[in-house]
Symmetry: C2
Subunit: 324 residues, 2 copies
DNA sequence: CCTTTCTTTGTAACCGGTTACAAAGAAATT
DNA sequence: AATTTCTTTGTAACCGGTTACAAAGAAAGG
């Protein structure tokens, strides 16, 4: 591998001049420039980005810490993050935390030592001191982390209410919910919105706490249906649970949406492709990732940021598991 | 940020000794060691991994270049890669190439300049000189790249044959195929295996060339069904196409598997969760990613590697879109 | 007690870029 | 032609680690 000193010797100029040519950082006489470019080409010289990072303390890379890329919500986020980062010349280091505090901490430490320029995190809990004392910006994605950390999110509470209103207005009589795990603030908020709306209408809902995961959801969905055959309207904490519920409902011969209406949350692509297709409260998943990345890079480049907390819109997507 | 020189001053020893303590690289008197560790703790010193990378020419990171993380096959691969890399102390840089040669080239160049220790690639075409002259190991994932590049793959040709045999033995009469795009060697091999088997039984199959993507598959699936109502057995190039075909078939009131049998390819998780669940030729997706990463890291660490090309087993998973 | 040997430690060069500062060269002014 | 000003270039320190080599200190042997 040729170095800048090789190019310097080959072209008969100093390393400073070569560096200037490489970065267009100050004027270089055009004949000199030509010589240098020629040498670069002949030696097939490629600057060493690591050396540059060391001096400039900027690595043009960011860390993306999510619970699990296998969870269908996150590939779309990751894609958005990577596209956006790439657009601005940044690379993305992918980290799966499994919602594990220790694992998250290890990643943060490693990324920090590698001088990434920022961290994009979908974390477990609201306040974790994993993020204390970092010398780089952090943006929380999807799951808000209190006021201290900049955040891009959706109004989960409103989403829960919207689901409840929709089921109610569709004539639901007996309501139930399979929520996400309560230790996730998002899951809790969705649930709270759902129940608050029903309470106003003097209704209640059976509640099962689930997980954002297919395998576990199958079990909970089956249990709900077996224990409560009278239920006709279910709000589920995310689309994966919804898909599991559809499967279990069909297994039991229920007609959807006539016997059972279901509303999911997220709007992952697969929800529209199954039969019956899953009605859902849709988040702008790609845009969530995109805006979060933009915000992070603005912070990393010390641009002035008007608002450090961005709420993205949600909307109800009617498909085939609801009547209206 | 404290540096090694700060620690050196604070503890009254040389930087070399601090470095020795950090790396356990040679004996340090235990009282000295204690002093150094104390200083490290007091100053909250964290070694700069970039400086280390510069000198050692080892970054403990690898690049993962895949077409698109949104394609449900790849999250599971990515997860396996990340898990395995992490286990050996490596980080993963995620790159979506969209099967675009130029984009792939840009990534390779950037990763190379950042001195990643190796590249894991699911590439487009068999022989691309994007990989010529790299000073780091490359392992091809899933899509074999001829003999030059180490590869972890499955026998797609056998998979296609297995699908054909299964449909045939289940009493299929009129066969069809929606293949993946022929420019992908994997898709072509699956298709070839499928047709070769049928030819031996003196059968033919209608063939539609599709894409490994939901949106496009919906269109092709609809077309196939409308133009050929007599078809009763379809092999599709991957599970996404299969899911699209199920949707279109149900829309047209076909009973699955009585009127129409379908076999997919890949074995992505969602295939087992839809109704009817999709029978498929299953690849060991996670293990594919895991073995590829292990192989890559062995190569990167110049370990002796017995075989540079690893074929993983496939198997038929009977679910609800086939009769047997 | 002096020499030899082994252990522990320090100095300084190195990895490959960037850049402050100074100096040389060219052009403009008097 | 001498002086001033602007442009172009070079020298060397720096980023923060690692390590070859040498030297100092401790232990062992005569």
């Amino acid at each position: 591998m040729a170095t800048i000193r090789d190019v310097s010797k080959y072209s008969g100029v100093s390393v400073a001049t070569v560096s200037r040519v490489l970065n267009n950082s100050s004027k270089v006489k055009s004949t000199t420039k030509k010589k240098v470019l020629q040498a670069i080409k002949e030696l097939n010289y490629k600057p060493n980005a690591v050396a540059k990072t060391l001096f400039k303390k900027q690595s043009y890379s960011i860390g993306l810490i999510i619970p699990d890329i296998s969870n269908p919500f996150f590939p779309e986020v990751a894609r958005a993050v990577e596209d956006t980062a790439r657009h601005y010349g940044y690379r993305v280091i992918l980290c799966n935390s499994d919602g594990n505090r220790e694992k998250e901490k290890d990643y943060i430490e490693a990324l920090s030592q590698n001088h990434v320029d920022g961290l994009l995190v979908t974390s477990i809990s609201e306040n974790s001191d994993n993020f204390k004392g970092l010398h780089m910006p952090v943006v929380a994605l999807d799951r808000s982390k209190g006021k201290e950390i900049p955040c891009v999110y959706v109004d989960n509470y409103e989403g829960g209410k919207l689901a409840a209103r929709t089921l109610f207005e569709n004539g639901g009589k007996v309501f139930a919910e399979i929520s996400g795990p309560y230790n996730l603030i998002t899951a809790k908020e969705r649930s709270r919105g759902f129940h608050d709306f029903l309470k106003k209408k003097e209704k209640t809902a059976l509640t099962y706490e689930g997980e954002f995961d297919f395998k576990h959801s199958i079990v909970v969905a089956g249990k709900l249906l077996d224990e409560n055959p009278e239920v006709d309207s279910v709000f589920v904490g995310n689309d994966q649970i919804g898909i599991a519920l559809i499967k279990e409902a069909m297994l039991r011969g229920l007609r959807i949406p006539n016997d059972l209406q279901i509303i999911g949350f997220d709007g992952i692509e697969i929800g529209g492709l199954i039969t019956p297709s899953l009605s859902t409260i849709q988040q702008p998943i790609y845009d969530l990732g995109k805006e979060a990345t933009k915000l992070l890079l603005d912070l990393a480049n010390k641009k002035h940021v008007e608002q450090t907390s961005i709420c993205m819109p949600i909307n109800y997507v009617k498909r085939s598991t609801t009547t209206g």
